[in-house]
Symmetry: C2
Subunit: 211 residues, 2 copies
Amino acid sequence: MKLNERGLLVVLSGPSGVGKGTVRKALFKTEKQKFTFSVSMTTREKRPGEVEGKDYYFVSREYFEKKIQEGGFLEYTYFCGNYYGTPLDKVEEALNSGKELILEIEVNGCRQVKEKMMDAVTIFIVPPTKETLYERLKKRGTESQYQIEERIKKANSEFGLAYQYDYIVVNDTVDNAADRIKAIIRAEHAKTQRSIYKYYEIVGDLENDNQ
Amino acid sequence: MKLNERGLLVVLSGPSGVGKGTVRKALFKTEKQKFTFSVSMTTREKRPGEVEGKDYYFVSREYFEKKIQEGGFLEYTYFCGNYYGTPLDKVEEALNSGKELILEIEVNGCRQVKEKMMDAVTIFIVPPTKETLYERLKKRGTESQYQIEERIKKANSEFGLAYQYDYIVVNDTVDNAADRIKAIIRAEHAKTQRSIYKYYEIVGDLENDNQ
């Protein structure tokens, strides 16, 4: 029995190249816990094969900007002439259905999420050593030495934002990292601040019920 | 790899009859995580067969009271003419060796522990329903109806202190409860406030190391 039936908003982030996407995929393979993700909203054109409500919610710029003004996004960004955002109402819907909502965000998006949703659980994924990450960034493509150095610089600056997150999870192996995240989610559900009201529902009338 | 190599002080408590002892025993059977316990210090007489440093540390009243004055106990109590306490230095020793130290305490001892050791992880074990606990208390012995009612009254008053604890764990089955506690311990090790210094040791010189 879980004391708290509402799902958790779990935010995954970490420096470029750390393997966030692979860890997320491993999480979704878990049978015991129910994970879901959030479909983003965007103002960019729908591409052939993309499905409304599955790949994105495709909306007009006017609609998106009105929604921003109404505070309707958990987080949003403007990139290459288009908006991308996570609609708050869809997040609430998923959490109220009791599922854990996994959100992968850019390193510097943590504060934006925490401002909107204080009880989000934020996890910063790190490599076991910095050399591991450098190796991964070097192997990733066929870029020039200059591009590789730029990536390493970016990762280095991202490392410094770990302190904004609730948890730091080492990605030594994908399965270990996913197991740590699952443990964090179980523990968060047991936190007194999350479960105390549900707990009082169960035992609340004890004082007058010495049967 | 654990970012934080120091063990955790894990405090288990809960209303009488909830099954704290059984859950603790299940924890100690775990192979992957290393658990230990703390030997208490007492002023009572050694009984035949008891071993110094294994069952208790047996000391004089003068020694114990001096240690109290020096703030040498994590928590202590006076019961039936004798002192019983958990020596702080032994706790530190266990934690520094990297083991998780499990401490079973009375419900109202939580504050005393938190005052001495802010980073203790405190867990309140509860029954799945209040009826479950009543049944257990009734089955426990051959006491009179009056004694059973007194026990239920005591349990009821203890229920109310759950809010002082960090986590509430439901003891629906012993294995489930032990699994929840193990998840809490893993999660606590990943908490940023515990692991950030170790993390900086690993990645600290990144800014100047764009190799």
